[in-house]
């Protein structure tokens, strides 16, 4: 190539003629100058941001650019004393932050949104260098969504008092975020926390801490009060210190299910509020009437977005059998035109994998996939070698039983399977412990709206994928975690019901409702001798499972004794097998009950109330005799229970979802879906009202229930099943298993086919339930605090309905 003589241009002109023929893409680098200059300003070494100040860098580790392997900076490993200092700073800042008006907090959030926008390119470039993702994505997706999140939550801050009366910020929150969307995950965590009036200790991932540090600087620059936001760097050990810290009120974590499970266990019984956004193996379902060329681009956005390092990546392609071959051919052709390269190149589709360890994991799983017999395909071009790159990869002939179909690869690897019918597509889609997101493609609205509610996932994208917005909640079902980020539903994760004083229910339980003593006992009692001519007919309360009164599997009973020591009766001693049977009955019932109309469920709840009221005196008498309560308070408990059933009859057709205002031509429908099969361990106090206050909201919203009635006073619960029997409640919707509460609750919490467990009892019991729940990451609602069940403000309403449901956001873009 000879430059033309006399050319004034620094470029090699002869190459223009060559490119004119070849029409290749050339390099199109985004400048890293400003980002390097910012790092240089900090001498490429960082301490933590605690209490508004930078600490001296200590115990530093390297942060490098995965696309070039170049060292970017050294950051500090957060130690116990750092965590203590950060939590103390957040605690100290809490009262004044909380005391600000909502409008004042809104101003801070607004300032942060503006700040992100003003420095958007610096954030984008730094993010791209730190993470390896393409500058296109950070520039066009990550950073605009960050700004959007702060704007949206400036709004929630402004509206906090009006929209969340009776709630306050949960307090000091510990937040641990992943490396795949470093600043976006920070925004998802920080914005709602600040809006709710919380103060924050946040730890970015050790691979990608830089934009969080830049954000800390921004927070300082806009003048956010010291201590409101504290940023600690470090690895999992630092994260664990935050999780375990006694003075943290809530933990929010995004990351792997494995770590999420460890956090669930670590926080069990601590009283810390918890939200977890974990892994996924999300289905991408293509029906035979879909726009296949658009499907291909959807796949590109699903699994080759951010190198597939996306928790909600559509990583399992489920294609209807008739179009699968054609779709796979189209995918291969598209894969040939994808471009992988430097993350700062403005014309690449994929950048680098975040770190060698992740690259090795991907390689290992791909090898395993090949070894297990799936067919692997990669495009003919090769990846750059100077950084950590991996090509887009397609597996076909994959069986659900193969490792790569089950395990989250977290890389640009798509596995493809086929299905025959819509029903089978749902079965395959749900054939996973995860439940984060799903994408479905069809031009048939009937099919789309039929399938979306059947998918076990927190987000469903119709004819689209990986759409995110601050106004729509994001979060999982099943082992993909719990809690939502974004939207009204996300705000509740950082709010708590204001209560005057939290008392430990353990001490109070026995004396609630004026009860003095009595209960079930292991001490043997005899029936008082009767002077009547003939003895009363012996009554045998049984367990109530699948609509039938059944004897306990154990063949044992426990005695129920009045406060005066009289033996009042005997109830069955439920055990593990009874729970197992009840769960199966509840699942059988769930299939129809969850689909019953709100109107239908309402009628049944009213009918239960009607039949309970008809036997009100009997129930009041039982409460009085069992608990020793006076007649007036026993009657009040029954009356309140009847009213409560009316409350949930009322709610059954009114607990509406929402249509979120998301910035697309389309809608995001937030549906309140039942959790599933719920195990409910009722409080000891208020033997009737406690039971009804919990099963009411559960069945009103479509769940089916295994209830363990008050352990000391189970007879109100066993009496109640005869009311259920006469009230058209379908078999298995409510199951009642009496016995040792904590043991039964633990069995329920351990059960992998129970989706949620509620527990009201002792702190030890709460801990046991929360620990056991980690097996399948089921939702738990467990409390040892006394609750005034008679007071409608605390004993019924939206708080209960929210616990009984999970929000599914269904994105439906439209337009012909």
């Amino acid at each position: 190539m000879q430059p033309l003589t006399g050319c004034q241009c620094p470029n090699d002109m002869s190459s223009v003629a060559e490119i004119f023929e070849s029409l290749e893409y050339g390099p199109a680098p985004e400048s890293d100058k400003e980002a390097l200059s910012w790092l240089g300003k900090h001498e490429r070494v960082f301490g933590h941001f605690i209490g508004g100040h930078w600490t001296e860098p200590r115990e530093t580790f390297d942060v490098s650019n995965p696309a070039t392997r170049a060292l970017l900076a050294r950051v500090s490993q957060g130690t116990a004393s750092d965590v203590n200092a950060a939590v103390a700073a957040a605690r100290a800042a809490l009262p004044s932050w909380r005391a600000l008006t909502p409008h004042a907090r809104a101003r801070w959030l607004y300032a942060l949104a503006r700040g992100v926008q003003k420095h958007s390119r610096l954030f984008a470039v730094l993010e791209s260098m730190d993470n390896g993702k393409s500058i296109r994505e950070t520039r066009d997706i990550d950073i605009p969504l960050v700004a959007r999140h702060f704007y949206h939550h400036a709004g929630w801050a402004q509206l906090l008092d009006a929209e969340f009366p009776g709630y306050q910020g949960v307090g000091v929150v510990g937040q641990i975020i992943p490396w795949n969307f470093p600043l976006l995950m920070l925004a998802w965590k920080v914005a709602p926390a600040l809006a709710a009036g919380c103060t924050i200790v946040i730890k970015p991932a050790e691979f990608t801490p830089l934009t969080a540090l830049l954000f800390a600087e921004l927070a300082a620059d806009v003048g956010l009060p010291a201590g409101v936001l504290n940023v600690l760097t470090g690895d999992g050990d630092t994260g664990k210190l935050i999780v375990d810290h006694q003075d943290v009120d809530k933990i929010a974590f995004t990351g792997s299910t494995e770590v999420g499970r460890a956090i669930r266990r670590a926080t069990a019984g601590s009283g810390k509020k918890l939200s977890l956004e974990l892994g996924g193996k999300s289905p991408f379902i293509v029906y035979d009437d879909a726009d296949l060329d658009s499907v291909v681009e959807g796949v590109v956005d699903a699994i080759w977005f951010n190198q597939g390092q996306v928790c909600c990546a559509g990583s399992r392609l489920l294609a209807q059998e008739g179009i699968a071959t054609k779709l796979e051919a189209k995918l291969r052709a598209r894969m040939e035109t994808l471009r992988v390269g430097s993350s700062l190149d403005k014309a690449v589709d994929m950048g680098a994998i975040v770190a060698p360890v992740q690259l090795e994991r991907i390689r290992g799983l791909v090898r395993q996939g090949v070894d297990e017999g799936a067919r692997m395909w990669q495009p003919s071009w090769a990846c750059p070698t100077e950084g950590y790159f991996y090509p887009p990869t397609l597996f076909t002939d994959v069986a659900p039983s193969s490792t790569i179909a089950q395990v989250e690869i977290f890389g640009p690897v798509l596995v493809s399977m086929t299905f025959r019918t819509p029903e089978e597509s749902v079965a395959l889609a749900n054939n996973t412990p995860y439940g984060l997101a799903a994408s479905l493609w069809t031009e048939n609205i009937n099919l789309a709206l039929d399938i979306a509610p059947k998918l076990k996932s927190g987000v469903v994208w119709v004819n689209s994928t990986n759409l995110f917005d601050a106004a729509a909640g994001f979060g999982g079902y099943r082992e993909s975690g719990f809690g939502r980020e974004g939207g009204r539903e996300g705000m509740f994760e950082y709010l708590t019901v204001e209560r005057a004083a939290a008392e430990d229910a353990t001490a109070k339980s026995a004396t609630a409702n004026g009860a003095t003593a009595g209960g079930t006992t292991s001490e043997h009692r005899s029936r008082p001798a009767t002077t009547a001519q003939q003895p009363p007919i012996d009554r045998t309360p049984k367990l109530f499972i699948g609509g039938k009164q059944v004897r306990p599997d154990s063949g044992y009973s426990r005695q129920v004794v009045a406060p005066n020591g009289d033996l009042l009766g005997e109830v069955g001693e439920g055990n593990r097998k009874d729970i197992r049977n009840a769960v199966e009955a509840a699942h059988a019932a769930y299939r129809t009950w969850s689909k019953a109309t709100g109107h239908n469920r309402a009628q049944i709840l009213y009918y239960i109330a009607e039949n309970l009221a008809g036997r009100g005196e009997e129930f009041a008498d039982r409460i009085a005799r069992v608990t020793g309560a006076d007649a007036a308070s026993a009657t009040r408990e029954v009356d309140t229970a009847v009213s409560r059933l009316f409350t949930y009859g009322a709610w059954a057709d009114k607990y509406d979802g929402a249509v979120h205002s998301v910035p697309i031509r389309g809608v995001a429908i937030a549906m309140n879906e039942p959790i599933g099969v719920l195990g409910i361990a009722c409080p000891n106090e208020f033997p009737l009202l406690g039971l009804i206050s919990l099963i009411g909201p559960a069945i009103a919203t479509g769940n089916t229930v295994i209830a363990v009635p008050s352990e000391p006073y189970p007879l109100s619960g066993t009496d109640f099943y005869s009311v259920l029997e006469t009230s058209d409640v379908p078999d298995g919707v409510v199951n009642i298993v009496s016995g040792a509460k904590d043991a039964l609750a633990k069995t329920l919490a351990e059960h992998d086919d129970v989706e949620g467990t509620w527990y009201f009892g002792t702190r030890e019991g709460v801990k046991a339930v929360e620990l056991a729940s980690a097996s399948n990451m089921k939702r738990t609602w467990a409390s040892w605090y006394a609750r005034d069940w008679l007071d409608a403000r605390h004993g019924e309403g939206r708080e209960f309905l929210r616990e009984a449901t999970q929000v599914k956001n269904i994105w439906v873009p439209y337009g012909e």
Binding site: V16, T325, M376, S380, T385, N463, G815
Partner: protein, 364 residues
Amino acid sequence: MTAKRNLESIGGAPATAGAAPAPARESRGADARPTLMTGPANRAQPIEHGGRNPGTPLDLDAVRSIHVNRSAVERRAATIPTRRTVKKEWQAAWLLRAITLIDLTTLAGDDTPGNVRRLCAKARRPLRDDLERSLGAAELSIQVGAVCVYHALVPTAVEALAGSTIPVAAVSAGFPAGLSPLEQRIDEIHASIAAGAREIDIVITRSHVLTGNWHALYDEVKAFRTACGEAHMKAILATGELGTLNNVARASVVAMQAGADFIKTSTGKEGVNATLAFALVMARMIREYKDLTGFGVGFKPAGGIRGAKNVLEYMYLMKDELGDRWLRPELFRIGASSLLTDIERQLEHFVTGRYAAAHRMPMP
């Protein structure tokens, strides 16, 4: 229906090449690529034809099985300009190529022999000589793809372009509405060819699409194609008047089945002319047609493409969706007039490093 994608013709070139030192890339067969298995797509490749599309019988199954999701198409179209860019000498080279793709057009009621002659002069020498030399493009014989005029101006254009290889394209067949009697439209095609036009841009009857009368559409386009004889036929779909992207796709398929050499978005007279979304849908149909028949049909966006940046976006779309063959005038044209001046400005900026002024470029 079995997919018959010819992978060899799609992209496939290394992602980075050219004068800049290419970053090292993994050699083929590195451990990251344990095996390279090819799927059924490679089993049955259609013969790829270099020649003209002869058309096929009307295949209504192909028309009825079309599904185009507008929102998804628009999302993809929106990222074409954000996923790709060319800089420095790549941009210069691509813009030079763009010049060769232009159907330099004037289709105004006040066209006269004078302004058409001026246009033809510009078509012959689209770049200022000094720019051409500075770019090292003197040997590349840069000239536009064609000059496009109304039938009445065909003789003028033919005369003005005499001695060059630049074809004259005529908008015939009742341009722009296409609502004159069929015989007259066919006669107009004959007349344009007789006057020396080597390319004919016909318009379809939108009503046939809007009423789903595919037989009528097929027959009409086929009759035009027959009338065109050796002249290349571009079928203008007037996408802005077809109502839906599904209709755009269906009309594209029927026009190709009826033997169109090119499918073209717009007359330039509709309320909405060329858009990337229309282009994407039409390109996908061209790909589908090629996969089924082996014949490559050309694409021509027209109307509203005024900026150099804009034309590059269409080129990215062609390269990524259809491959490099569709970056040549044989299969890709751009209907435009003022676009050329903007390309010249960008090229001068590349050469001098200064932003350029339109008045320094000889006007068409």
